[in-house]
Symmetry: C2
Subunit: 513 residues, 2 copies
Amino acid sequence: MDGAECLIRTLSENGIGICFMNPGTSEMRFVNALDRVPEMRGMLCLFEGVCAGAADGYGRIAGKPAATLLHLGPGLANGLCNFHNARKARTPVVSIVGEHTRQHLRYDAPLSADIEAFARTVSEHVRVARDPAGLGCEISGTIAAAVAPPGQVATLIIPADVSWSEVEASGPGVAPARRPLPAPETIGQAARLLRSPGAALLLGGTALSARAVAAAGRLAAHTGALVFADRNAPRMVWGRRGFLPRLMPYFPEAALEALAGVRNMVLVETQAPVSFFGYPETPSYLLPEGCPVSVLAARSEDGTSALEALAEECGAGPGAALANPSPKAEPGEAPLTCEAIGDALAALMPEGAIVSDETVSAQPILVERLRAAAPFERMPVTGGAIGQGLPVALGAACAAPDRKVVALEADGSAMYTLQALWTMARERLDVVTVIFANRRYRILEIEMQRAGIATPGPAAQAMMDIGRPDLDFVRMAEGLGVPATRAATVQEFWAQFRAAVETRGPVLIEAVL
Amino acid sequence: MDGAECLIRTLSENGIGICFMNPGTSEMRFVNALDRVPEMRGMLCLFEGVCAGAADGYGRIAGKPAATLLHLGPGLANGLCNFHNARKARTPVVSIVGEHTRQHLRYDAPLSADIEAFARTVSEHVRVARDPAGLGCEISGTIAAAVAPPGQVATLIIPADVSWSEVEASGPGVAPARRPLPAPETIGQAARLLRSPGAALLLGGTALSARAVAAAGRLAAHTGALVFADRNAPRMVWGRRGFLPRLMPYFPEAALEALAGVRNMVLVETQAPVSFFGYPETPSYLLPEGCPVSVLAARSEDGTSALEALAEECGAGPGAALANPSPKAEPGEAPLTCEAIGDALAALMPEGAIVSDETVSAQPILVERLRAAAPFERMPVTGGAIGQGLPVALGAACAAPDRKVVALEADGSAMYTLQALWTMARERLDVVTVIFANRRYRILEIEMQRAGIATPGPAAQAMMDIGRPDLDFVRMAEGLGVPATRAATVQEFWAQFRAAVETRGPVLIEAVL
């Protein structure tokens, strides 16, 4: 077989069945090898940022990596922003990047660039497969690096001539990775801390699963400890589950207030809370001065099992069932608001839905209203870099074809990687996209106020205004092959969202706010 | 003044009057400072790749830098692909990147990333302004680095708290950069070489200006030397100018044939020719074995004046006027082809137009047909990374508001940075975009054939097919605020393109092939 077939085969033999790609000339052999390994599903995206975000969404939901195949340094460059989010999510991704032939590199051709330097900004594991004889081992090594807990974007750069060289065999099998349980002393120490006044748990990483949150709920009921969730965790259960952790507030003032009474912070697969941005008047570090911090489970450990062990250690059995907020009935006609959208989603989203949440200023309202929804999972923006929402929804839909995926998208963020809609249309993925069209970078207006600038001048205002002209998401979605409608009133939104969840396949609703 | 005003003022005082931006929270002070320095025009783009490409297009046409203002590491990451093209073009760009406050950096907040590592992939000059007292000098130093011949993307990273710190004064003035003329011996030596049999000139960099090409034409007529143009030069004159250099062919077989008779190669602001990609059967280096290579003007020298001095040295005065091909009359009705589009453009484009050419498989046909056009300038893709065409057109239109800009866009490439249309609409820029909608990555089909794969399987074919569903550029353009039409026949295209050049403001034509 040639090197390209070795790649596709080694990935497939290690359980990687999907590759999000935007190939070029140097990757033609990989494309050609797809027909020889039918277990591998190649999925074309029209921009590399979509490939990177889709692999992130896939990995978060599937718990195993997808591959990406990108074209040289500039192709990888276009994927870096969403790889940044995947890096912060600790999502396992096998990132394959094609390179010029080994002998061509010395000539500084137009597309030559330092691919390793691009890759190192998002990957700890960056290798170049310079020797066809070692290709199989390099591929398996890259998979092993991607899946080693907590997970990472692992990069393998393959020169074109290595892809067309003859190789003997595919790479060796990669042993499944397991997250270790923390030591019993760690569980015991955390149990003692949780019984002290002002104890709190902060859950992140994979420890916002149904099991983890249920165990944290038993601990909260039994010990009185506060339970917080990392707002940038890759994936978290939400909705009518009885107990839910408190999402760490976005702005430091609110977070400082929420954390003011904490006297002992126990971390589960995350770090001590810090504000998203630094401000002149508030500290970046959000815990009260002198508050001790201990770790129940490191990022690479099994926080879910650790929480269950901790609940057992504390004798925190199932407590009384907690009441849930009830979804609202369909209201009468009124102009559309974020609150009204939240109520409609809570009433209409099917159980088990996956929500890719890239709303910004609307997010606190939605998170609150969606406590009344049937149990579902949220996927926040992990690295704060906008443009992941639609690609992550795309990848999640590939990983869980039997679950409804809902992408809640700010209009500004949607414009970063709107090309994702085309791949949803081509692959008939079951994704409902809701665009929150307030026609401005609302969060920046808020931040401008916070910076003490009460009335920005016209030049400044223009930089936060994405109307003039208004973006017409209905036309753009239709141009990309996705049926779309516009909702300007509450009744329109209820009717359109109800129809969307009752149909299979991609749909977009522009919610005009 | 605060650090932000110091930035905007220092840029403006050094002749930089436009800043393509997509700001975030850490850049709010810069946005606010725009109203205090009305000489600076802030231009909002909906994606950072548009900002980077627009600055490249502006710099190529204006011959002086634009600034970009991007948000943290991920914002810069989105600009890297088009900064790669700007790097290969040696375009002067002042790239300002906002950073977290200095004290916030230690906390690994979600958006924290190694901005310097991102920047070093495209910039030789990467600085962090850590000290408010030195801010003005750092800004002036970055401008100086950007404009030092041959030009570069120079990066300055400014922490948010430096932007809100009080500073005393704006930065010092930057001395204008001048390209030196090569030494007289170099001119003399080149004159001797040009008189030898098989001599050839290869023009690149800024040496494809009207003056440079005219001098090269006199040299060709007088000495018989062949004159080639670097196909990835940032900007070149084209059309009915009498003499035109021969564009270096894209595929190595054709380039090797074109160069077979060369016995002495003289370079002007470029390097010895190499193929775009490496292939199994052809060399990457395209000159005949043993062919001597000499340099008339290095990339940082004044190749145009060097060519004029060389023509004088050779006694190459104005020769007989060369005949030009005539533009064709409007033909009868027929299905649309690339050839027919080329003929229409040649007949209808106004003199002095600027063409951003991001066609791929159609390019050889267009370049040939456009020899019959009124004199204009082409801007090729310098670094081979697709997604520059529309942003570069946007920037060129800002630099030359009195010239018609025509963007010739492959459909696949257009999908990388289509957001550029919105800024064209908002700013009412005079750009006609023609989408070559063949609905496939045609160049990859050609490369697959070249790799000896005559009939790729269905999985491979799907990765080169960007129909299924068809992209509707008319709807997408309208969604972005740009009026658009579709042409499927020759008559439709002539009528629509004629109307487009007769109107001011952005227009898009989807040419269905």
